[in-house]
Amino acid sequence: MDFEDTAEETAFREEARAWLEANAPTEDELAGMDGMARAKFWQKRKADAGWACIRWPEEYGGRGATAIEQVILGQEESKVDTPDTGVFGIGQGMAAPTLMAYANDEDLKRFIPRLASGEDIWCQLFSEPAGGSDLAALRTKAERDGDDWIINGQKIWTSGAHYSDWGILVVRTDPNVPKHKGLTYFFLDMKSPGIEIKPIKQISGDANFNEVYFTDVRVPDSQRLGEIGQGWQVSLTTLMNERASIGGGGSGARFKTVKQLAETVELNGRPAIEDAGVRAKLADWYVQEAGLKHTISRTLSALSRGATPGPENSIGKLVGAKKSQDMASFAIDLLQQQGIVRDREQDEAFEALFQDTYMSVPGFRIAGGTDEIMANIIAERVLGLPQEPRMDKGIPFTEVPTGSGA
């Protein structure tokens, strides 16, 4: 038991580090660029040198690297100051694996290299007002018209729709069969006529997501992935990759920052950190934080010997998001009345970290699978407990009961 690289991993790490140090963009090179331009500049440079999407086959711009090499590259890149390339996450992490599983050779040659190089940005059009946790309840419909399909309906919670070039889309093509059997999966040009995108303002004040409206949007049948009616199975390929990419979970308030705060504010006339109650809470959060960190080490160890990680990885978001929320709430309490001030410029020490976390975590606890869905996944897929009986099985979608929210 140790935390050391194997000889091959050491060699790869050194190669990656050397390339990153020699090629990380300088401020001169990035001068005048906005965040998107910086991301595209850096992604292109990585792709040209074979350092983008390294797990993909060489023909698509990768180098057939192992999962652990991908992790090592990420670790090394995090030590170097490089532009944030998060805008490519959905395309590279979710759309690309689905395309690789279902698209034809011609489309793969057309799209995958551009995904690797960051020339195209993709978004995911799955959730709907009537279908979130119960994704298969979605209602946006596609009707056949010659070689095309005509799409009408609404998607929601679409990250990056406004700057995306392409989207992956699951829609209902047959409402008269049970709901999981009437879905079909497409990809489409986000500049297609009839698409309207409206940002959603969140309680945090940010607008990371959009509503996307479809009015008679034409999609050629050649952009269908999988068979007609097989959309649910294709979606599962995408969603498996969503959990893999969101799995880390828990940003924002951390043990170190809240402890630092407890050392500087007073409670009962002495530093709050001396209070037994404060120490007990901090200790519990440390246990969770360390537990997640060491769980990741166990996962990486499995990757390192070429095995598939165990289900223990599924706890990251569930534990991390709640912990972050509770820590932010507690930090605000420690500050007493001062804690409600949310002003980055006035808060020199923490730059409104606790207040921003407090307002953003409710979203993390819902995005990519709510806490409740994550607990169901653990119960059903890890522990093997039975599903709840359901009211929507074996009957046509049109006969499934709906509530006033639909």
Binding site: T6, K259, V287, G291, L385, P386, Q387
Partner: protein
């Protein structure tokens, strides 16, 4: 990254689990819980023959010279079986104390006996309710004779030697002593939450006591020993928590209410998912504790407190919610859920409670660059 047990260690886990399935089924725990035996002596002899008591003792003293990674594997399996044996007192505490601070003569005299399971060691420092401290000790040693009393000492009644904290005039106000059980040592059995374990109040009346380690530095040594033991107890606690999850799961799958298994209700599913999450975090922290113990890392104090708090919380949660999942039957004497509910609390306070270790965790985090 190789943050995993080796194939040989995994094989040892399989062997240990197999041995305890055969030799420590619930009937053995129940036998000690309900009967007059102070511990399962037959099981103790068996695990000594398997070499478990000798795991980390060097070969020159009759041990196997294996690492702590092997010992934690065994600890988890003993916890899983709720084994009614003095393994913690004798192996995690008394053996460790002699390994850490014993003179050559003390090692030569006691380690072979501890390795063979012929001697059982106990560890006595608390003198009554509340958290023990060097300043509050009233047990004293004068001219090699110890006088005073210790409260609720695990496995004292069945031990052949005790490691005892007593007052020192100098240093941190405490020294550790090795006290062979004989003249001047008397035990008074106490009834506890877990009759499958053994506890007694101990009175020393001029018994022979040998200094263990440096005079006047006993409390520092004791804290170090408790850190090491915390990792080992954490593994035993984790094993118990895992057993509770398995029991609760099995029962919930087979028990029907309103026409379906109770395991299909989200109220039960989420309860078991919570157990799984707590156990998984506890396991990962216990891994790190094992690594820190085995490498004698500077991180040991923090790693040990983290593992200890995580496992204590996981075991408490799993043992109480296991009863809850079983409903009324879980509360009956006939069912085995009680074993784990009892043991979780006994282990939780064995070397300082959750709040004591939460406090130590924060203190230790001051010393480590996070």
């Amino acid at each position: 990254m190789n943050f995993e047990f080796s194939d040989e260690q995994n094989l040892l886990r399989d062997q240990a689990r197999g041995y305890l399935t055969d030799n420590c089924p619930p009937a053995v725990v129940r036998r000690v819980l309900e009967g007059d035996e102070l511990y399962a002596e037959d099981l103790w002899k068996g695990i000594a023959e398997m070499g478990w008591t000798a795991t980390v003792i060097p070969e020159e003293y009759g041990g196997l010279g294996l690492s702590y990674l092997e010992l934690v594997v065994i600890a988890e399996e003993l916890g899983r079986a709720c084994a009614p044996v003095p393994f913690g007192s004798s192996v995690y505490l008394a053996t460790e104390a002699i390994l850490a601070a014993g003179s050559d003569a003390q090692k030569e005299e006691w380690l072979p006996k501890l390795a063979a399971g012929e001697a059982i060691g106990a560890f006595a420092y608390s003198e009554g309710g509340g958290q023990a401290s060097a300043a509050s000790l009233s047990t004293t040693v004068s001219g090699g004779k110890i006088s005073g009393s210790k409260a609720v000492v695990a496995d004292a009644e069945i031990s052949q030697l005790m490691i005892v904290a007593a007052k020192a005039d100098s240093g941190d106000g405490c020294s550790l002593y090795l006290v062979p059980v004989g003249d001047g040592v008397s035990c008074n059995h106490v009834n506890t939450l877990d009759p499958a374990t053994n506890h007694a109040d101990v009175t020393f009346d001029g018994a022979a006591a040998e200094l263990l380690g440096a005079e006047g530095q006993g409390w520092g040594l004791l804290e170090k020993l408790l850190d090491r033991a915390a990792v080992l107890y954490a593994w035993e606690q984790l094993g118990g928590a895992e057993s509770c999850l398995e029991m609760a799961k099995e029962y919930a799958m087979g028990r029907y209410a309103f026409g379906r298994p109770i395991a299909s209700y989200q109220a039960i599913k989420h309860k078991l998912a919570d157990m799984y999450v707590k156990n998984t975090l506890a396991r990962s922290n216990a891994y790190y504790g094992a690594w820190a113990l085995n490498t004698d890392s500077d991180d040991l104090a923090l790693a040990a407190a983290t593992a200890r708090v995580g496992s204590t919380q996981a075991y408490y949660y799993a043992s109480k919610e296991n009863i809850q999942t079983h409903g009324g039957m879980g509360y009956t004497w006939e069912f085995d859920c009680q074993f784990y509910y009892r043991r979780s609390k006994v282990l939780a306070v064995a070397i300082g409670s959750e709040s004591v270790w939460q406090d130590k965790l924060i203190t230790a985090s001051d010393q480590v660059a996070a």
